[in-house]
């Protein structure tokens, strides 16, 4: 491959790189910059680290952070585990599986707002789920308006919508494992359970890591269900940081605080992802 003329390179690369620079990279810089400003009486004033310092003593921020962390602590392991279980079923070669595979893929075609609307009505006190639970004498529950249930309802909806998507990546990873590897383990006398733990999961580790990291980044920034379902309530029980930032910037007009929250959120996300990578990708070396 020889070196190519500069005009050609510019022509082919410039549109995409320019787009990424202006609409991806620049906003990140801008967020950092704007988080150093505040708006007082319609005037933008340089505030240094005041926005961040104020967050430190801001009860609303800390409560929202707690909700975000608790939300992620539950939803990410749950989604990855369910997506893995689904992927393991998806790759089974059984008669009639083609039909079930199609059903498994259905939530991918459904956007989160659509899922939210459908589930909102399903979850109403007079809705379908309470009706079905009524058969066994349970309920009715206020799934969306009780502080005890609302966050978990959002988790359930996001999980219902999300796991098919993550399943696809895991199916790709599973299909990348040569079938003879499992056959060899089977001949050696490994039970299905042992094959899962000793062969499949270790070989799936890179894909699992990818899915976990990608899932965390999405869920840390989850917005639509909170916006549409609960508006952060009841009693702040679903007020995740992303929604708190949105309210700050677009409801209360404090862009500086909004940007500071987004920067904190992304920084926190990066730290968690970095820890994940360290923990999960160094494990095989220790196993030696």
């Amino acid at each position: 491959m020889n070196r190519s003329p500069i005009p050609l390179l510019v022509l082919t690369l410039a549109p995409a790189l320019l787009g990424l620079a202006v609409f991806r990279a620049y906003p990140i810089g801008l967020a950092l910059y704007e988080s150093l400003y505040t708006t007082i009486g319609g005037e933008r004033v340089f505030a240094g680290f005041d926005n961040y310092l104020m967050l430190l003593t801001d009860v609303g921020f800390w409560k929202s952070l707690r909700v975000t962390l608790w939300f992620n602590l539950i939803i990410n392991p749950l989604q990855v585990a369910l997506a893995l279980a689904l992927a393991l079923v998806f790759v089974q070669k059984l008669p009639g599986m083609a039909f079930f595979r199609l059903l498994f893929l259905i939530p991918i075609g459904i956007s989160l707002p659509v899922a939210v609307i459908i589930w909102r009505i399903v979850l109403l006190p007079e809705g379908f789920l309470n009706g079905a639970l009524g058969i066994v004498g349970l309920g009715p529950y206020r799934f969306l308006t009780s502080p005890d249930f609302a966050l978990y309802s959002i988790i359930a909806i996001a999980t219902w919508k999300g796991i098919s998507y993550w399943m696809i990546f895991l199916v790709g990873g599973l299909q990348n494992i040569p079938p003879e590897i499992n056959e060899a383990a089977r001949l050696e006398g490994a039970s299905p359970w042992q094959r899962l733990w000793l062969i499949t999961l270790p070989l799936l580790r890179p894909t699992l890591l990818f899915v976990l990291v990608a899932d965390i980044t999405i869920n840390f920034l989850l917005f639509a269900p909170v916006f549409m379902l609960t508006g952060g309530g009841p009693r702040g029980s679903t007020n995740v940081l992303m929604y708190e930032a949105y309210k700050s910037g677009f409801v209360f007009g404090d862009m500086g605080r909004a940007m500071a929250i987004v920067v904190c959120l992304v920084a926190l996300l990066l730290v968690i992802v970095a820890i994940q990578f360290r923990l999960l990708s160094s494990a095989p070396k220790e196993a030696k």
Binding site: L94, F100, L112, W160, Y165, G172, Q175, A224, F227
Partner: protein, 277 residues
């Protein structure tokens, strides 16, 4: 465990999962064909008739379109279609350049492109609002289309594909005297059709499902796209359940019509990016 019992258990588990996936949708679909006052009938106490669209009516759909849902669908198709077409050209060219040309700093630039798609759109939606308002695009269609055209994942998919096409094709075509555009158009584009489909689907669905960004970028709500339109619909007609379901069904239907015949490409594109990414 006897094999027959095991098989039965596996099928039972599969059916249960499929049930959970399908049931809410089924209820939504059939409810959209019921009159509004009949939505919650048959639930308390629960009877199997709750799973059948009866009494049957198309009122909900008629009402939705009377309320301008058709324009919203057209708007979204326009935005998603434009983004897909421009995105395929822009990202395809960049993927081609990364795969076939050598230039200093290539791997670093490629690395940044790859990292850029690991950061979700939501993370930059708010600062992006400032960028777009500096450009004066707030409440303008360009605000929805232009920022979404360049897509790191699409560049990566094309790069990955073009890279595994044997270099001999390029060199053979060069020896025949073909220029790079000719080579791209008559050799690489036809070969890359599956990648075009998976990248195109990705761009289209991304736009179809966009919610936070259109919400921020189009505050006047003159030009509504579907997800935002639906959410607004929900706020306005809180208890028009059958219409809400109807809007949700239509919103889900269009990407499904694309996904079901093309699911193979979508799945391959996604799964491939996960393994290598």
């Amino acid at each position: 465990m006897p094999p027959i019992l095991r098989k039965a258990l596996i099928y039972l588990a599969i059916a249960a999962v499929a049930f959970v996936f399908v049931l809410p949708l089924w209820w939504a679909i059939l409810s959209s064909f019921r009159p509004n006052e009949a939505i919650f009938r048959d639930l308390f106490p629960f009877t199997p008739r709750a799973l059948w669209p009866e009494p049957f009516t198309l009122d909900a759909y008629v009402a939705i379109f009377e309320r301008g849902f058709g324009t919203i669908i057209a708007n979204t198709l326009l935005v998603a279609g434009l983004t897909t077409a421009l995105g395929l050209i822009v990202n395809g060219l960049a993927g081609y350049a990364f795969a076939l040309f050598e230039f200093p700093g290539k791997s670093a630039v490629l690395g940044i492109v790859v990292v850029s798609f690991m950061l979700p759109f939501e993370a930059i939606a708010m600062p992006l609002y400032s960028v777009v308002s500096q450009l004066g695009w707030i409440d303008h269609v360009a605000a929805l289309v232009v920022p979404s055209v360049a897509n790191g994942l699409a560049v990566f998919l094309f790069y990955q594909f073009f890279q595994q096409v044997p270099k001999d094709y390029y060199e053979a075509a060069r020896l025949e005297g073909a220029g790079w555009l000719r080579i791209l158009w008559s050799v690489y584009v036809p070969l890359s059709l599956p990648t075009c489909i998976s990248a195109g689907l990705m761009l289209f669905i991304f736009q179809w499902e966009a919610f936070l960004w259109p919400l921020l970028a189009m505050p006047a709500q003159q030009f509504k796209v579907i997800q935002v339109g639906m959410a607004a619909f929900q706020d306005q007609y809180t208890t028009a359940w059958n219409q809400l379901f109807g809007a949700a069904v239509i919103t889900a239907l269009i990407p499904m019509l694309l996904l079901i015949p093309l699911q193979r490409y979508y799945v391959q594109g996604l799964a491939g990016s996960g393994i290598k990414g």
